[in-house]
Symmetry: C2
Subunit: 473 residues, 2 copies
Amino acid sequence: MEGISAEASSLAGHLKLDNLILLYDSNNITIEGSTDITFSDDTAKRYESYGWKVYTADGHNKEEIKKVIEEAISYKGAPKLIIFKTHIAYGTPTKQDSASSHGVPLGEDEIKEMKKKFGLPEDNWAEKYPEKAKELKIYREKEIPADFIDKLLEAVSEKAEATRVSSGNVIQKAGEVLPFITGGSADLEPSVKCHIKKAESIKPNDFAGRNQHFGIREHAMGAYMNGMALYGLFIPYGATFLVFSDYMRGAIRLSALMGTQVIYVFTHDSIFLGEDGPTHQPIEHIGSLRIIPNLTVIRPADAFETAVAWEMALKNKTGPTALILSRHNLPQLHKEKTMEAIEAVRKGGYIISKEEKAAKFVLIATGSEVSTAIEAQEILKSEGIDVRVVSMPVPEIFEKQSEEYQKSVILENIPIIAIEATRTRDWDRFVKDDGLVIGMKSFGHSAPAKVLAEKFGFTGKSIAEKVKKMGEN
Amino acid sequence: MEGISAEASSLAGHLKLDNLILLYDSNNITIEGSTDITFSDDTAKRYESYGWKVYTADGHNKEEIKKVIEEAISYKGAPKLIIFKTHIAYGTPTKQDSASSHGVPLGEDEIKEMKKKFGLPEDNWAEKYPEKAKELKIYREKEIPADFIDKLLEAVSEKAEATRVSSGNVIQKAGEVLPFITGGSADLEPSVKCHIKKAESIKPNDFAGRNQHFGIREHAMGAYMNGMALYGLFIPYGATFLVFSDYMRGAIRLSALMGTQVIYVFTHDSIFLGEDGPTHQPIEHIGSLRIIPNLTVIRPADAFETAVAWEMALKNKTGPTALILSRHNLPQLHKEKTMEAIEAVRKGGYIISKEEKAAKFVLIATGSEVSTAIEAQEILKSEGIDVRVVSMPVPEIFEKQSEEYQKSVILENIPIIAIEATRTRDWDRFVKDDGLVIGMKSFGHSAPAKVLAEKFGFTGKSIAEKVKKMGEN
């Protein structure tokens, strides 16, 4: 019944995944009672409509089960559904019947026989096929070379660009070095920029490509990526608009719980996507992702931070990472691509624009608001108010740094202003009674990004005025 | 492609909604290109499998369009899908052709003729059927009587019980007074207790009942409720486990954005649901719901607060409400059901257990943690440490009270300890540098509730120890 089953089954049918056999234990019982209460689907017909081959069998008849599974294994060209008609808690199984077929390992000899029967390699595969074994090793180990960041930094542009574009450029470089990364989007490729240009797309009967087309199926995209990561040979990434992350939270949560290395690429990350309006403008999404345990959420401020963010995601082997990217162009804030600058981003938070002499305020910002904070700093400087600007792409990683480092970045006993165009409680712990959070309280509006920046107070001028007012009090 | 279309269409087919006609503009184009890239469904067959009547027609042929719509209208016994084969941006429409058929109101005479043709009442319906008109008025106005809360309080038990059970008892009382409330659950009725016992269930061909069976279709449940609320004659409620709120966030967000009066009943609200383990234990959900603009999230501490919470939800006409309810039994904390006590809950936060003389600490808690905080207060009292306990079912409403009231509840210059078995940043703004948040940092574990309370520090004893330690520093 769950929609994700429709999403996943439709995609499997389209891709003709004929090594997939789905066993459906059809006992007509749900928690509320008989499925008749809410369910009249003709399941066989439904799966045929997805392009599956469908079988029906008695789920209590061992001979019939064996026969139908063998038939399904030998059928080629489509995924297979076997509907086993069963009765829940059917009869009372004798110990004798269950002992040999249930809960006991098959044993080495039986496995060898079974492999032979199904035409699977028995053993010594690596000796027989040393080249293939070598290739498999690369996919199994998924090693990131030591100089990997240098490669990614080749993609960093000097002109202003959206971080979704920067991300697309970084993926080209990452794809050249790492054969085991593969991904795509939920029907938004022209917008989310996730296509590896030098690679083919995955198609029915042709899985040599590296670009995936998930269709308009966000939840299935997340589940699909979890499956790929658990399989062990790939690091998958999947992209959509940040606001649609809601559709796939079930899968994101499972990535975090299972600790799968999955990379979620979420673009169009704020009201600044503009005219598509409040249905498409994420407000609560960054905050609601940050509180999922074991999910690393990174919101880079420019192309340089985006390159380091991708490196962090590809090295984060114990859980999923979400990259939060802008639709609109952002200025490049990093003139020098030094190891020190790389290390600073990796620390989750760092001084991106220092005060002249003695800071009266510290402005913390993320993503597109970092350059706005630097604009505010300029304006304030011209009026004799000296402030520091901190970029904090990952507050949770910043808080893992030494207390000494943290204090050197967000100075003690100085009012802190946190700026992020989102509705979140994530900054309350940084901003004490004498500070201020500049964020979103309501849903957005449909208007050009510039108009929205004025309306909701995300301009250098508006921020500078708020800071000045705080100085007067 | 989206899973919700499968969920909703399956349910519509099951209920044989024959006044529903879905027009499918099938132009074979998605954002990434031709639908061939990711889609091979036989859509007609798929909808037939849901029990729909399916038509196919040329979407550019006016005569054919008219004919097929008339056919669909007259067909009874199933919802109807008309697949219109179209070409996007087909041809160049002349002004002449579009003027009469597109974007211009039909005019009163034409509407009268059309109504006559389809057997709809022309006008003067209210005069012809005064009894029905009276009934319709009740459903349109959805008035809550002045003494409504008294009725709900009749449901409040004196013995310990889970707030999901309290909620079920309150629904019985509400259902007696308000004919326009209707709801159900996504296949969890035995657990979420949302059934109006004196009413029938909605069935195919029989819509007189008030209990809905949504099936295992959370996203469709939310969308269905939004539709009912927009229709204007009902206040719908829908229940599932809090952890499954993730599956329906798309619909919850739309409730908030559109301001529909929809009541989400989320039970099994913490790790204390026990053995079902981390997949079922909500950790980040309360926090991620609280940051959706215009969604009121209420987490009651006992049966009395649950009754007031339902009243608040039924009176909240400008947006959705989420009720967050426990699986496990909670003691009844309200001995006297006075107007003062009712008003206190409505304020979003209030003193539930006062200090003896002068409080050294203020403990803020919600839901099941309120009684735990009171246990801690008892232990601390026996050791000579005087503390106050505040129940805060809705922090956002508490913050709308006068500054004077807020300060009278959470005293100034006294350390605050916030206790909630969830992962959220919602308490950072209450708890200053000298305070403490006792919450969840990780996912939960599968174990009995008591064991988990010990492990994660949600016992009166554990909290008392932490408070004592703070007193020593």
